[in-house]
């Protein structure tokens, strides 16, 4: 340290202020990082930041879709309206039930399918493509399709279940909240399991083959190999997949809206917010509901990130 201070290795003359400024401009990594990030940041501010801020602002006003310009600041009254509305809490509960059950089932089935697809067998490529079909069908189309299949009188679901003897007589699946919720979860699992399977498959293919060979030499059972090698190694992938899916499931709208409409018993948070915004023209309270959805999803995200943090530190 002392040597460098008194006698520099290279005798560079003390640069002038201008020169130092230039050097800073040219060589400062921080500055250039900002320059290169700027377009993205500006784009994000315009397309995501501004609407988000707009929603925050609207949630503190009495704006109506019919007279957006005449909005007056009303403080937190929209939030008290939404939070004291029992329908909102039903919607929150519906969303949480839907998300937990559907994501849980999707993870289990996705893992199973990924394990099968990861093994070598003839026609594997074809099967991998075929598995993706439900996911490729647009949600509104598959929701409409399943609505007809779940019809109580001429739906194919009842027909098959009665034929197989599972049911004694047809069930009106979409008539009451609990069976409707079951049907919604079923369709979502049908649709999104391929996505889960694909993500987990990607994780499985990153597991190095040599660890399996080592396990084989140690004569470990298949089950033990799975739990002590495969699962820990793909845990980060599964965590990411679960986060993706949960965030998606928490804002579920299309499937519920098409299959069950705005029925209170199955309405999710997004359906609730849309009803207030568009059908009731209440941009104030609708925006408040949207902000609450944002906060709830944010809360879940932070929670998940906190949960998976230690495991990443280990690795």
């Amino acid at each position: 340290m002392q040597a460098t201070e008194s006698t520099p290795l290279l005798a560079i003359p003390e640069p002038g202020l201008m020169k130092r400024f230039w050097n800073f401009l040219l060589y400062s990594r921080v500055l250039w990082a900002w320059v290169f990030l700027a377009p993205t940041l500006i784009a994000l501010l315009v397309v995501a930041g501004r609407p988000l801020f707009g929603t925050f602002w609207l949630s503190f006003t009495d704006a109506s879709l019919l007279a957006l310009d005449e909005a007056q600041f009303v403080g937190f009254s929209n939030y008290t309206t939404v939070l004291s509305d029992p329908d909102w809490w039903t919607a929150v509960w519906n969303t949480v039930v839907f998300s937990v059950v559907s994501v849980g089932l999707e993870t289990l089935f996705g893992l199973g399918i990924a394990l099968v697809l990861n093994s070598t067998f003839p026609g594997r490529g074809l099967l991998r493509a075929a598995v993706l079909i439900p996911w490729a069908v647009p949600t509104v189309v598959s929701a409409k399709m399943w609505t007809w299949m779940f019809n109580d009188i001429y739906g194919v679901v009842n027909h098959i279940l009665v034929l197989l003897g599972v049911l004694e007589q047809p069930v009106a699946w979409l008539a009451n909240p609990s069976t409707t919720m079951a049907a919604l979860i079923f369709v979502d699992v049908w649709k999104t399991t391929p996505f889960m399977a694909l993500l987990i498959l990607a994780g499985l293919q990153m597991v190095p083959k040599d660890v399996y060979e080592a396990a084989k030499l140690d004569c470990d059972s298949r089950l033990k190999t799975f739990f002590s090698i495969t699962l820990p190694l793909i845990k980060p992938t599964i965590s990411i997949a679960v986060i993706f899916r949960s965030l998606d499931a928490l804002r579920i709208f299309d499937l519920v809206y098409v299959m069950a409409g705005t029925t209170k018993g199955t309405a999710t948070m997004s359906v609730y917010a849309r009803q207030r915004l568009m059908e009731f023209q209440e941009f104030g309270s609708g925006s408040a509901a949207s902000v609450l959805i944002f906060l709830i999803i944010g809360f879940f995200t932070v929670g998940y990130l906190w949960l998976i943090r230690p495991s990443q530190r280990e690795s």
Partner: protein, 431 residues
């Protein structure tokens, strides 16, 4: 070389001429109309506006809008609240004038007393907001009862005049048909899903039993009354598992699901809109020629009949750049000749009283003769007095009725809670 030059010159001249021609065309004013696009609706809209273009020399452009009426309302609200002049003429639902009135032109000064009186009173009144006519009725709808004439005849039953009678007839026929092996037959289907259609259905039960129209003309909430509870309770008592009159699935039916069941021969009675008539009698229908369309039963013997008024109107945007032409087009499309053409070609029920006794219209739509009375006395949903809050009221109402139909609550307690909620929503009946 010379040839090429001439060719180029000709081209340039042609271009100039083309520009000149289009500049000339721009002198004609352009009116944009939003039309529905269900089935034949769009074709008839094009036909009508073309005729007007020919007559006046103005141009008309047609905007396609979503079929789902809730989506359409959302789109209109976005356009109108932005003060957009892109659309001059809006096709609006009969329950929207209250919601959209502040963005629509007052048409009253453009209408004579005579012109107003030519429309069915109920249809025209629904298009008033604060006493001003904000839209012109274009075509109308009303709930009707379809029944299987063959089954009623087979068991010697008369057409039921009251709801209770209908329940009894349905039960009797069901028992015999089930015993005879027709196990999949049901008695009565309607629109029971929690949506606007249920509001229309339940309003008919309530109004025909003397239970009022949820909210009265002055805005006071009237729904919590014994007649209303009796009407809704009766229909709810029919819903159930096999052996009941109405399948549980009715709680998820909209128009098309109900029609699907009736048209495949699996129900004796159905409440629906007149549109189903043509489809029930189409080539591949299982009930072709076996169905009769009539007015819905009453709540009491000899009592009132009620059909919920539906339909669409044309309103002129306040932000239009060509109000004169837009109003003229609205009046043209809702005029006698256009409504007649639409009634004959597309079975759109006219809003002009005179057309209900027009020979050509009746020839194409023989059922209109019987439906005339239904339509002339159709019950409007309380959109007028509830103004911008109609959708809130309707959602509260259909949710309360849905709870009773699904046996989660009794009619009495559900209506009592509804009254309290509506009192809060309406700010004590002020809306």
């Amino acid at each position: 070389m010379r040839q090429l030059r001439n060719f180029l010159l000709a081209g340039v001249l042609g271009l100039v001429a083309g520009v000149g021609a289009s500049a000339h065309a721009d002198a004609a004013k352009k009116i944009t109309v939003s039309c529905g696009s269900n089935g034949i609706e769009r074709d008839l809209c094009i036909e009508g506006t073309n005729e007007w273009s020919k007559k006046t020399g103005q141009r008309v452009e047609i905007l396609s809008t979503p079929n789902d009426s809730n989506e359409r309302l959302g789109l209109y609200q976005q356009l109108l609240s932005a003060g957009s002049a892109d659309v001059d003429l809006y096709q609006i639902d009969v329950v929207w004038p209250g919601i959209l009135a502040s963005h629509l032109l007052d048409l009253t000064p453009h209408l004579s007393e005579k012109e107003i009186s030519e429309h069915v009173a109920g249809a025209l009144n629904s298009n008033k907001a604060d006493g001003k006519v904000v839209a012109l009725p274009w075509f109308m709808d009303g709930g009707v009862l379809y029944y299987r004439a063959d089954l009623l005849k087979k068991y010697g039953q008369k057409v039921p005049q009251t709801w209770e009678e209908m329940g009894k007839v349905a039960k009797l026929i069901l028992e015999k048909e089930h015993a005879a092996g027709n196990a999949e037959l049901w008695g009565f289907v309607y629109q029971g899903r929690a949506y606007e259609g249920l509001t229309c259905n339940a309003l008919e039960w309530v109004a025909s039993t003397g239970g009022g129209t949820i909210v009265d003309d002055k805005g006071a909430v009237t729904i919590n009354n014994p007649q209303a509870a009796k009407a809704i309770g009766l229909v709810a008592s029919w819903v159930g598992k096999k052996g009941s009159i109405t399948p549980e699935g009715v709680l998820s039916y909209s128009e098309e699901e109900a029609r699907g069941i009736f048209q495949s021969g699996k129900s004796i009675f159905m409440r629906n809109w007149p549109y189903a008539w043509a489809l029930l009698n189409s080539k591949d229908s299982a009930v072709k020629g076996k169905v009769v369309m009539t007015s819905l039963p009453s709540g009491t013997a000899g009592g009132p009949r009620a059909a919920t008024l539906g339909g669409w109107s044309l309103g002129v945007s306040k932000y239009t750049k060509n109000p004169k032409e837009a109003v003229d087009l609205a009046k043209f499309l809702t005029g006698f000749e256009q409504q007649k053409m639409r009634a004959i070609k597309g079975s759109f029920n006219p809003t002009r009283v005179a057309l209900y006794s027009d020979a050509e219209v009746l020839k194409a739509n023989p059922h209109l003769k019987e439906l005339k009375q239904v339509f002339l006395s159709a019950v409007p949903r309380p959109a007028g007095p509830t103004k911008t809050k109609y959708n809130r009221l309707s959602a509260e109402f259909w949710n309360s009725v849905h709870a009773v139909l699904s046996q989660a609550e009794t009619a009495e307690s559900s209506l009592k809670k509804l009254e309290a909620r509506l009192a809060k929503t309406s700010n004590g009946g002020k809306w």
